[in-house]
Symmetry: C2
Subunit: 249 residues, 2 copies
């Protein structure tokens, strides 16, 4: 089975990744389109995933079961970074009274790997496992700063980037400038670049060698915070904990 069998593994994982916030339920056609597979391949994947309990089928739609969490636990339960970050995220949350998250780069996205939840009803929907495009997020501006010049150039070559709001930086120059500013300031502020009414702030976590390995971030409604509050009041607390976390790595 060697090669073909393992092609099935890659296809099945692509189908599982196709489920998400905007697509909690998928038909065979939906899954084929989202994962770039033929209908026949998507059907085989979904049927197998249903047999082993990763998805359920209601006659038309497939949906992921809680069992998919077993896969993510492989990382959140064992990797050092999210484990070490948790007390810091909780401590920041208790000072700020907003949800606090930790993100790493996963290809062209910020991927959230830990989170300390606040109590606000109006709250960002960023959960562990959520992804946001690097160019449109404050975490992304921090994480892009970890790339070498040639890696960054490769990333920027994909510009223009789709506008998420009128304030999204969509050109290579605009994104590069934000990455440069974030590197110089040690902080990135996202002012409605991802979504109208959403402010975010991110600071880098550096390992003992000085390399940026993650970003700590807070997103909040612009009706609750201002850019100035983020910059003056919230940033020092985040930077202190980011530095402590970095020393633990």
């Amino acid at each position: 089975m060697a090669v073909e069998g393992m092609a099935g593994l890659a296809k099945g994982l692509a189908v599982l990744e196709a489920f998400g916030t905007a697509t909690p339920r998928l038909t065979i056609s939906d899954a084929a389109q989202a994962a770039g597979l033929s209908r026949a391949a998507a059907r085989r994947c979904l049927t197998t995933l249903a047999e082993i309990g990763y998805v359920t089928f209601d006659g038309k739609f497939f949906s992921p079961t809680p069992r998919v969490l077993r896969i993510g636990a492989a990382y959140t339960e064992s990797a050092a970074l999210p484990q070490l970050a948790r007390p810091h995220l909780a401590a920041i949350r208790d000072v700020i009274d907003e949800s606090v998250s930790l993100a790493v780069r996963d290809e062209n996205d910020s991927l959230f790997v830990a989170r300390s939840e606040g109590t606000r009803i109006l709250n960002s929907s960023i959960r562990v496992g959520a992804r946001i495009p690097l160019y449109a997020s404050s975490t992304g501006q921090i994480l892009l700063g970890a790339l070498s010049e040639s890696e960054l150039a490769d990333y920027l070559a994909a510009a223009p980037f789709p506008a998420r709001t009128p304030k999204t930086p969509t050109t290579a120059d605009a994104v590069a400038q934000r990455v440069k500013d974030a590197g110089a300031d040690g902080v990135a502020i996202g002012d409605e670049e991802l979504e109208p009414g959403l402010l975010s702030i991110a600071v880098p976590v550096r390992d003992p060698a000085g390399q940026v390995v993650a970003a700590i971030s807070i997103s909040a409604s612009s009706s609750r915070v201002t850019v100035e509050e983020f910059r003056d009041r919230v940033r020092p607390v985040m930077q202190q904990h980011a530095a402590e976390l970095g020393r633990q790595l």
Copy 2:
């Protein structure tokens, strides 16, 4: 490729599930043993998973990458239960000042699908995606109560269950009694049944039809809380939020 290809998918997922708290890094032999595969099959799975970015290889050990979180996000980002539960878990946490979790049944385990993190340093390691055997957990005693008589009998037929501590219920009778008591009281208390020094409390979340669909739980060090505090002070707050959550389902 049909059948064999999809066998590869099942095997690859079994390998990914083999990573966890106790086994953050695996050799090919480790993975083969944990997933019940031949060495050759485990090697093919791990090589493919490394190619598509789900694991890294340091020359000897394979480790999961953050990318595995994309799979779990399929559930946490889209399913109604964890989404609706979050504000309730956070509200309980703020009253109690302990981490609060939501669990559902996944085969013979309690599987934690949402969590609101406290700030304590000495904290249970139960994260989203973590699993605990039903017979040895307060959540399990609640969730076993959702089974039909014949389903429960099937589960109990696997007794005796491995003792986790001297207080673990290991016989069918002992587990059945705890399930019965939890059903009558509307609460389960785990008094060092899973781990010495660990107390836990769980209450059921019932859907509008009255069916138990999940358990809300708190685990804490016995140096911080007593069984009486859990039962008298913590339980009413948990039951109130469990009832509110149930009405939202």
